[in-house]
Symmetry: C2
Subunit: 460 residues, 2 copies
């Protein structure tokens, strides 16, 4: 492999050039910015790396999926999952350089998407280029998928999986988002939580009334407050009957892996000024709670007058936005029904609940051969034992690929906590870029030889 | 009196001219618009009617109080309470003519403040002019007070009452806001509710967090929701211990007066689309509930993301604005303490409560001689039996004049429900203006002869 690694290092300037070009093209999915050009740019880059490329439309005129493919020496087919959309840039005033005009400062490159996830696209392209230049061929068949809505919950991806899933199917999949942790150990994760997002709304009057009328006219604010109070109690327990029924306890390997994760409690305390933790959890329980507990979060409350001072108004309506992070084997639509049934049973039939978004949770078993292969290659490239999280506390379409398309998934990437992903001054350290590219290359090589190993079933 | 009434009718054009000039000058207290000129304009009009005038500053650079005074034939001194500030004009697009460029259409004049309360100022000035022109002198001593912050809760008036109260003191007081009701019966009211306005705030984190962290980081939204839920229950009962302790049941005369008020339930149903009423009250109870029940109203909730779609955020803080309408003999600062004690006892010591505003409730006894004198003169001027409400459901500084300065108060004015006060296209019907001016004149005449009658103590 040294020839491949040497090529990756020797062509770093071209890789930086490509990554710069990719970051210079805005692609902010939540604001719909840049998608006239971004998919075509990704397509042309994939083509320049010898892939056949299709731009696959998604429903609702969302940013399309770009799918490249290339044959290789073995019959084993690998899928790279990435996304070419990025987070918004606000607060813009905190950026030290234009987020869409990449700038190198020292051994880091700055710009939106530099690490998440354009850095991964460019690193994997560097690995592909190395194989094609040095050996003339990839060591395995490859499918390279890049979606355009990961940062907004992959909201149009599911119907595409249903219609075109066979074209995405491979023997194994490498997700985005791995890399190194704060201790510079290689870091992998093996699943994602699901999510249910809802909006609760109540209306009692056809328009706002003077608050003196509160003596006789009903209040939407009070209806909403009392409805919400039945969903999670003051001791932070979720009260919706059946909410926890489908929760599958983590396996012994998953618990063991979670126990090995570094203690982040000091960081939660310092970054967020948290004086206590949910359920008054002690420091030792934090990581397992974060990974394995489902949540009921109030993301927003909207009602009446919220400006300076007072306005004596009886608001006609009130609403709340909520998200529920779900764990295997909870299902968002089932939880949605349970919330509706619960509110009805508590006498809140007048509180509307709208389903806004639904993603299933999923994990790939941590002791599956595929995870072991990826971990072993990480140890070789990074020179250190990888840390493996059973899952992350966030959400993504892991289920769609891992369960619906029945592939073992593991992670590799260019990430590092110093990269400030989603925040101002997002950046990538050149070293992480090179490590990520080499890891991608070694995974392709080893996978070409061995395949994914014995298949193990994913969750559900 | 016919000579006085003839003068008022004969000089209607000049009165309209004066009212037009007054309305043309903006004086929006909630937005601080127009107070460079408005107090001076009122002063010059008072002076043109033979009064000595003082502009009395209020704390916090608020719009000042204008106080005119004039001697009369008898030793009895009457106080006119009015205000020269007006409500904001929004939504401006619903006005058919410029709110500050008065327009006559048919027998109505349109403009902001035309009825509330510049119409009352102009009508009382018309009565004063009539006496001065026809008889050379007022029938009684007069103090004419016009404040500039009534529409924002007279928030700087109390310290002025404490320092300068003696200068406002009279043997009796005529409030603003009387007139005719929908049946064209003369309408009077004999008191106002008090108010406590507060803001509740909770903060759990130093900044917003990604909602995946809701599994371990505490939520300000949930803290606020559970704290609020302890204040009023789902059956619309206020739960703060001691909240009702000081409530004095209405007297038999007050209950009797309330029972005679016209049924407004259809209007509540139609105007606000109310499908039910607080406490599931029946139609017969509505008016007494409205007048005699204190309230706990949520005027606003502010927390997290409230835009389109979803943002998966764990908000760092949450807040609620509340107002409590109070009835005799509740005291806002006492209720504030009880809320604080209650939240502490319920384990919500971390929920901050800030006192934003406090006004005491007060009534003047409905069967006092002064109310009888005003009612009798109303019957003479309007030719119909007046309807007398023991109090209104709203709030104003009745307590400061009625209790602190120990004056009997009653109401007279130019109001009519068709005048759309506080709303777009505020107007005054010429007939109501003339009736209000004549009633003011007859009150002055009768009061000059008889005084306020035997004094009766106001509430408390």
């Amino acid at each position: 492999m040294q020839d491949i690694f040497d090529h990756i290092e020797g062509h770093l300037d071209e890789s930086i050039q490509l990554l710069t070009e990719l970051v210079r093209q805005p692609s902010v999915s939540s604001q719909g910015i840049g998608f006239d050009k971004a998919p075509g740019l990704v397509k042309s880059m994939f083509e320049a790396h010898g892939m056949e490329v299709e731009i696959i439309p998604v429903p609702n005129d969302g940013p399309p999926v770009v799918l490249g493919s290339s044959d290789g020496e073995s019959n084993n087919t690998l899928l790279f999952y990435t996304h070419y959309d990025v987070q918004p840039t606000d607060p813009l005033e905190l950026w030290e350089s234009d987020p869409f005009e990449p700038e190198r400062r020292g051994d880091r490159l700055f710009g939106r998407g530099m690490s998440d996830d354009k850095g991964n696209i460019a690193a994997r392209l560097a690995a592909i280029r190395a194989f094609k230049d040095v050996r003339g061929k990839l060591p395995c068949n490859l499918k390279f998928l890049s979606e355009g809505e990961e940062e907004i919950g992959s909201r149009n991806l599911r119907p595409v999986i249903e219609q075109r899933g066979e074209d995405f199917k491979a023997d194994a999949c490498i997700w985005e988002g791995g890399g190194r942790n704060l201790n510079n150990d290689p870091f992998m994760y093996q699943g994602l939580k699901g999510i249910l997002t809802i909006e609760l709304r109540n209306r009692q009057l056809s328009g706002d009334a003077h608050s003196s009328l509160a003596a006789i006219l009903p209040s939407a604010a009070w209806r909403l407050i009392h409805a919400l109070a039945t969903i999670r109690d003051a001791d932070e327990r979720i009260l919706v009957p059946g909410f926890y029924d489908a929760v599958k306890p983590p396996s012994p390997s998953e618990l063991e892996a979670a126990a090995k994760l570094p203690d982040q409690s000091r960081s939660w305390r310092e970054t967020f000024g948290a004086g206590r933790f949910v359920g008054n959890a002690d420091t030792e329980s934090l990581e397992t709670n974060l990974l394995f507990h489902p949540t009921a979060n109030v993301a927003g409350l909207a009602c009446g007058y919220t400006g300076q001072g007072m306005k004596t108004v009886l608001p006609d309506q009130a609403s709340a936005k909520m998200d529920f992070r779900l764990v295997p084997d909870q299902r968002p639509r089932d939880i949605f029904q349970k919330i509706r049934t619960h509110l009805d049973a508590k006498g809140f039939g007048d509180v509307e609940v709208e389903l806004m978004g639904a993603v299933n949770p999923a994990r790939t078993e941590i002791d599956s051969p595929w995870v072991q292969l990826v971990a072993e290659t990480a140890r070789e490239v990074y020179g250190r034992q990888p840390v493996i999280a059973p899952n992350m506390p966030g959400t993504g379409p892991w289920y769609d690929f891992g369960v619906t398309l029945d592939m073992p998934i593991s992670t590799s990437g260019v990430d590092h906590p110093s990269h400030r992903i989603h925040a101002p001054n997002e950046n990538i350290a050149i070293e992480d870029f090179l490590l990520g590219a080499k890891h991608a290359a070694l995974i392709m090589e080893r996978f070409g030889e061995k395949g994914p190993g014995h298949r193990t079933s994913s969750t559900e």
